[in-house]
């Protein structure tokens, strides 16, 4: 039986919030804005908890990287059934430039330290849409990866993953230890129940600094500018197909 599953959970701006760009175009407004767990991370936590309920894994550890507030996100994972949490403390400038490369280094280090046999992540975060962390983590660990998972089945020390790909569904079998990233249809996350929220209070969240894991947080990327998408322009009505073709040629579209 796989001993330990590491689940990464990211605190992001809530999906229902109307995003506003900061006046200085350096990023989006986050102060006072409602945040919650990235929806794909919720699906990852749900899958891990289900594996535990099926007695296929022994322990689910929820990890999040960021300032004090990410502990809220870890608590949500605990309320869903994770056993304990790890808060990797990253704040200030380091947090502003924290991206998939840094997070995957952290997760790889933790996976080794915690002797995890499975790392489950959301396929991407809804704020940066990078879709890189899972893949990078697998590469750093030299572990197989099953990304965009819509179904995960553990069979001994192998995992069958059905992946959602452009052409349809692909089924692969990978050896453990492995990294899996959750896609939308993998499962429907449970609501935390009131008793579980109260039990979560007693579960432990350990704090650790990236330095202790030997991770260098230096970013290789520099964000130059953040702006809103161009305003949608009004369309033009045309009378005939000839007019349409003419206009498309004018606009250099054909």
């Amino acid at each position: 039986m796989a001993a330990r599953v590491l689940v990464g959970v990211k605190r992001v701006i809530d999906y229902a919030v109307k995003i506003r760009v900061k006046p200085d175009n350096t990023g989006v407004v986050t102060d006072g804005v409602k945040h919650s767990m990235n929806p794909f991370c919720e699906i990852a936590v749900e899958e891990a908890v289900r594996l535990k309920e099926k007695k296929l894994v022994k322990e689910v550890v929820a990890v999040s990287c960021g300032p004090q507030q990410v502990q809220e996100t870890i608590r949500t994972a605990l309320a869903m059934g994770a056993d304990r949490g790890i808060h990797v403390e990253v704040s200030g400038k380091d947090y502003d430039t924290l991206g998939p490369l840094q997070v995957s280094k952290i997760l790889a280090a933790l996976a080794k330290k915690e002797e995890a046999s499975l790392v489950i992540l959301g396929k991407q975060a809804i704020d940066d849409d990078c879709n890189q962390t899972g893949q990078m983590t697998a590469a750093l660990l030299d572990w197989p990866q099953g990304t965009f998972a819509s179904e995960v089945t553990i069979d001994g020390d192998k995992i069958k993953v059905i992946r959602e790909i452009d052409g349809g569904l692909e089924t692969i079998k990978i050896n453990m230890p492995a990294v899996v990233t959750a896609d939308l249809r993998l499962n429907t996350p449970r609501y935390a129940t009131l008793p579980n929220i109260m039990k979560a209070k007693k579960k432990k969240i350990a704090s650790v600094k990236p330095g202790e894991l030997g991770v260098d947080l230096t970013s290789r990327l520099e964000v130059l500018r953040v702006e809103e998408p161009a305003q949608r322009q009004a369309g033009v009505k045309v009378e005939t197909v000839e007019d349409l073709v003419g206009k498309l040629k004018e606009a250099g579209r054909i």
Binding site: E72, R75, I197, K201
Partner: protein
């Protein structure tokens, strides 16, 4: 703004309730209202999360939370459907009464099923002849051997006819409040029948019927507390019930303010969005301010009740009076801001208005709230 001053744990409770309201209730709120559906399956899902007996003790299946936790949860759930949440709060009140005043046998018999909503409950106090003057109730309970035989009828009973467990205030003794006892009557008991389903302006996701007792025999062991304690039990139930109903009004007002704000940002007249109109900006500001004020009153009353403070009853009455009045006004103004669209059933705001109108009437009219508060002030030493 609804999370200010809450502990991390309370924010978690609130989040689950908001999510449940948005995903499981809001999409169905109009259908439940228009088709008069009692959403049993959805309420059972809510019960699985612990919402069936929020302030009932864990040893009999409840969640063992505080009155403030309860208020936060009902306020959030109400944003999804005020009518259904109001029924859930009545159900919770009944479960608490049995948990608090029932014998261990009664608690073990009824509370687990109520907390899981395997069974549903109704609170039976009002009669055709006694509403505000509740203590003048006439439903009689004559002791015959080891049973009380009940005769009489209750009016306006939420859930009546569809629920399984009836918490009934009835007269076992002489006139006035001291002659009243509280007994639990199960559906299916011979002599228990129901009137026709009432047609209401709102609260349509819960059936309302008269509950009729004709030589209905109820075991004496089904009595909560001692003989003559029934009115006291009923009022203690209502103290919490008033906070819960006020919380439902808060949720409806919260949702309505959001709907109004969204509408103002979309609707254009005179060449600009309504949100540019200073009058509407000021109106929205007033609505939000009154909502926050109402919320503070309700939450403080909840804390006072939890701590069993001497001023708790007055505070609960004040909170119910203030919040239900203010929130109805807020929802009504939100409807006005929608213009003609506000009057269409395609838009949710009219349902919030219709659903919470009755909160100013039941669980003690807002006039009775004034009576309680005045009495409290005038007998203060």
């Amino acid at each position: 703004m609804s999370s200010i001053g809450l502990t991390d744990e309370q924010k978690e409770f609130q989040k689950v309730a908001f999510d449940f309201a948005a995903n499981e209730m809001a999409p169905h709120m109009a259908e439940w209202d228009q088709n008069e559906m009692f959403p049993v399956e959805t309420m059972r899902k809510a019960a699985q999360l612990g919402f069936g007996g929020i302030y009932v003790q864990p040893e009999v299946g409840g969640s063992g939370l505080s009155r403030l936790d309860t208020s936060i949860i009902f306020e959030a759930l109400s944003t999804g459907c005020a009518s259904t949440t109001a029924y859930i709060s009545i159900h919770n009140m009944c479960a608490w009464m049995i948990d608090t005043f029932g014998s261990n046998e009664l608690r073990e018999k009824f509370c687990p099923d109520l907390c899981s909503m395997e069974k549903f409950a109704s609170y039976c106090l009002t009669e055709p002849g006694s509403g505000s003057d509740a203590a003048s109730l006439l439903t009689n309970a004559k002791l015959q051997g080891d049973h009380y035989v009940l005769n009489g009828s209750k009016a306006f009973i939420s859930g009546g006819g569809d629920t399984d467990v009836y918490v009934v205030m009835c007269r076992t003794g002489g006139k006035g409040p001291k002659g009243i006892s509280c007994v639990v009557v199960e559906k299916g008991t011979p002599g228990l029948s129901f009137g026709k389903k009432e047609k209401k302006v709102g609260w349509n996701s819960q059936p309302t019927r008269a509950v009729i007792f004709e030589d209905c025999a109820v075991p004496v062991t089904n009595r909560l507390g001692v003989e003559g304690q029934g009115f006291n039990i009923a009022m203690k139930g209502l103290n919490g019930g008033r906070i819960n109903i006020a919380s439902c009004s808060l949720g409806a007002a919260h949702a309505s303010v959001q709907l109004a704000r969204d509408h103002l940002c979309i609707r254009k007249q005179f060449g600009e969005t309504l949100s540019n109109s200073q009058f509407l900006q000021f109106k929205l500001a007033e609505m939000a301010t009154r909502l926050v004020a109402s919320r503070l009153m309700v939450r403080q009353a909840a804390v006072a009740l939890q701590e069993d403070r001497p001023d708790a009853v007055a505070l609960c009455s004040m909170a119910k009076l203030f919040a239900t009045d203010e929130c109805f006004s807020i929802c009504n103004q939100a409807l006005q801001m929608h213009g003609g669209y506000g009057y269409l059933k395609d838009y949710a705001v009219q349902q919030f208005v219709r659903d919470i109108r009755v909160h100013q009437i039941l669980e003690g009219t807002n006039e009775v709230m004034r009576m309680i508060i005045a009495r409290n002030l005038l007998t203060e030493s």
